[in-house]
Amino acid sequence: MSDKTTSTKPAKKTAGAFDIRNIIGSLLGLYGVILLLAGLFADKALDKTGGVNANLWTGIVLIVVSALFLGWARVKPIVVPDEVEKVGDDPTRPAPRRRSGGH
């Protein structure tokens, strides 16, 4: 999507926290850690789950998935281009007109 736009500029600006993969990664990671701790220390409610420590296992899986997303975003960051083209408006389309243009 974005990797080829980088080359010339020395300091490229990445999406950072705005990268959806970082957002997904942090939320799932946070959930994973909390569930892992709950699985270790809180009531395991084994009668409900049929003997499986569900919090623990879900926590582990979430941490792995979170690491995949954060790693992916780190290996292939999205780069914000300096110039963003405006969307060409179709004159026949009923949309709020830009203030600069006409009535």
Partner: protein, 586 residues
């Protein structure tokens, strides 16, 4: 929980959540509001560029595409269907949604994207003019209000089940939260939240399914239990035989037809071709997400990439419903013909409670909070999507086109905000209606399903037959819709006791026949009216009709140089093959 019971002296709660669960819910809201604040603070072009979806890779828009649909009706409704009739529910996905999504990407998206319309009703306006546009825009706007009400009702019932608040308090609080969520985050943050919501839903429903299956002894155990249940259930409960609940075809438990041959025809043509194609290819809430892509190729791939996760959604929605019906005490009682007390509404257990009750019975605190966060997320996003789509169509397709033309930017933004607030207030009222007459809501949804079938007929005919006239557009649309309503009235129960029972059709089968009738009547009437009216000049049809649009406008020239797994057609082919395999396997 003592502080909560101080605030509202309430009944016992359906679900026993503790501080751990609330922590997980609060974290989710923190992320959602955080995205909203980030989107609001950073108004620079580059960030705007990021959030608007135009730079987002296809996997993100694809997930947002199915996430916008993964709301209350889907999660609660499909698990309820799973509990009641079992596996045939998968037809809503494998015969219904997937082929329609592929068709949207392959055939119809080039016209939507290429004609540069900003909403689906606007395409109608460009192709057929005022009459068809008005019918489409108004019916869509009204349907969105009603569906927002259903989403709000289910959202309120979760809050009720969780905190024990009276339903009306829960409704108002939930509506206020959704309103701030929409106005704070704005449309631009919607796609981010939808993708986030998708992962939270999967993270909560997948463990629920696996633990549920573990409790009943795996899939084999589930089958045995359903078979034993169907054997022993009293005849008055009308439980479908085990063979019908455990095989997706011929799906008589779903269609209600006694002949298995007619059942297959009804499902493939009525549900698959007419109802689902009508919904997925003309529903602006869905199509909007693909329209925001950066190229025609990305727009076409959005629903096709969405099809891959979509085909596995039934496993985490329908299976828990089926497990719930053989594991949860109240559900067993309900399916056996009893009327157990309790439930999310407090007025007796309904099939819609299948998922909530299963959560109560099998999830430990912690995972329970994750599941509650997932459900709240889904209903909020669903309602927000309905209200945003209503807002766009109301402000631009109705207000600007017919009531106040040529006003400033700010004016329409203000109208849009007012429309959002008004829509939220109206949704509270429709939610109240839904809570007291849950069946009325079903009938209304059936009714709005009827608008989609003729809409699809008119679109598809208009896209491929250049002679079709503007008059044929609105006459066909109206007569198709009316014929569907007539069939529903003549059936046994499509409108409950208001139906006359002249035709021996009931259940989903009645909707299939009504929708199919609407489709056929629309086509026939459109062709007849076209014969006696003047067509539009060919010059006005470029980009709107297949034969008048240069072929290179319908394709992305850059696609040929991409590897096969990034091209539209191979991806669609693989998705089609996978869904065929799933149909044979279950």
């Amino acid at each position: 929980m003592s502080h909560l019971s101080l605030a509202v002296p309430a009944a016992t709660t359906l679900i026993d959540a503790n501080w751990l669960d609330y922590l997980l819910v609060v974290i989710y809201f923190g992320f959602v509001l955080g995205i909203g604040f980030m989107a609001r603070r950073s108004v620079s072009d580059s960030i705007d560029f990021f959030l608007s979806g135009r730079s987002l890779p296809a996997w993100v828009t694809g997930l947002a595409f199915i996430s916008a649909n993964l709301g209350a009706v889907e999660i609660m409704g499909m698990s309820a269907n799973g509990a009641e009739i079992g596996l045939p529910t998968v037809h809503y996905f494998w015969v219904g949604a997937i082929p329609a999504m592929l068709f949207l990407g392959v055939v119809m998206m080039p016209f939507y994207y290429g004609s540069k319309v900003r909403s689906v009703p606007e395409f109608m306006f460009r192709r057929f003019g005022t009459g068809a546009h008005l019918v489409n825009a108004i019916s869509f706007a009204v349907a969105q209000l009603l569906i927002a009400g259903v989403n709000l009702y289910l959202l309120g019932s979760i809050v009720h089940a969780l905190l024990g608040w009276p339903l009306w308090v829960a409704l108002i609080v939930a509506a206020a939260i959704v309103l701030s969520y929409i106005t704070l985050g704005g449309l631009s943050a919607a796609i981010y939240n939808e993708v986030l919501q998708f992962f939270v839903i999967v993270a909560s429903l997948l463990p629920l399914t696996l633990i549920g299956l573990h409790r009943v002894g795996g899939y084999g155990g589930l089958k045995d239990k359903i078979a034993a249940f169907a054997e022993s259930a009293p005849a008055a409960a009308k439980v479908a035989p085990a063979a019908q609940q455990l095989e997706s075809w011929p799906g008589q438990a779903l269609s209600g037809f006694s002949s298995s041959f007619l059942s297959v025809i009804g499902i493939v043509f009525g549900l698959g071709f007419v109802l689902s194609f009508g919904y997925w290819t003309t529903n602006f809430v869905e199509v909007q997400r693909a329209m925001a892509s950066k190229s025609i190729s990305a727009a076409r791939k959005t629903p096709i990439i969405g099809a891959f996760p979509k085909m596995f959604v039934p496993f985490i929605v329908i299976l828990p419903g089926m497990v719930s019906a053989v594991l949860v005490k109240e559900m067993i009682d309900l399916k056996g013909g009893g009327t157990p007390a309790g439930g999310a509404s407090g007025e007796g257990v309904k099939y819609n409670d299948a998922l909530l009750l299963l959560m109560r019975d099998v999830l430990p605190n912690g995972l329970l909070g994750l599941a509650i966060a997932g459900l709240l997320a889904a209903f909020m996003a669903g309602m927000a999507a309905n209200i945003s789509a209503f807002n766009t169509v109301f402000s631009y397709d109705l207000w600007q086109r017919y009531i106040r033309k040529d006003h400033s930017d700010d004016y329409y933004l203000r109208i849009g905000r007012l429309a959002t607030v008004a829509a939220t207030v109206i949704a509270i009222f429709t939610a109240t209606i839904a809570s007291s007459f849950s069946n009325v809501m079903d009938y209304l949804q059936t009714l709005f399903g009827f608008f989609n079938a003729p809409l699809f007929a008119t679109f598809i005919l208009g896209m491929f037959w250049k002679r079709m006239t503007a008059t044929a557009g609105w006459v066909g649309l109206s007569s198709g819709t009316i014929s569907a309503v007539v069939v529903a009235f003549l059936s046994e129960d499509a409108f409950g006791s208001a139906s006359l029972g002249v035709l021996g059709l009931s259940g989903q089968g009645a909707s299939f026949v009504a929708a199919s009738t609407a489709f056929v009547v629309d086509i026939v009437v459109s062709v007849l009216v076209t014969m006696v009216t003047e067509p539009k000049p060919a010059s006005e049809l470029k980009g709107l009709v297949y034969s008048e649009t240069p072929k290179e406008d319908l394709r992305d020239p850059e696609e040929a140089s991409q590897p096969w797994y990034q091209r539209t057609m191979p991806l669609a082919g693989i998705a089609l093959l996978m869904v065929l395999v799933l149909n044979f396997a279950f």
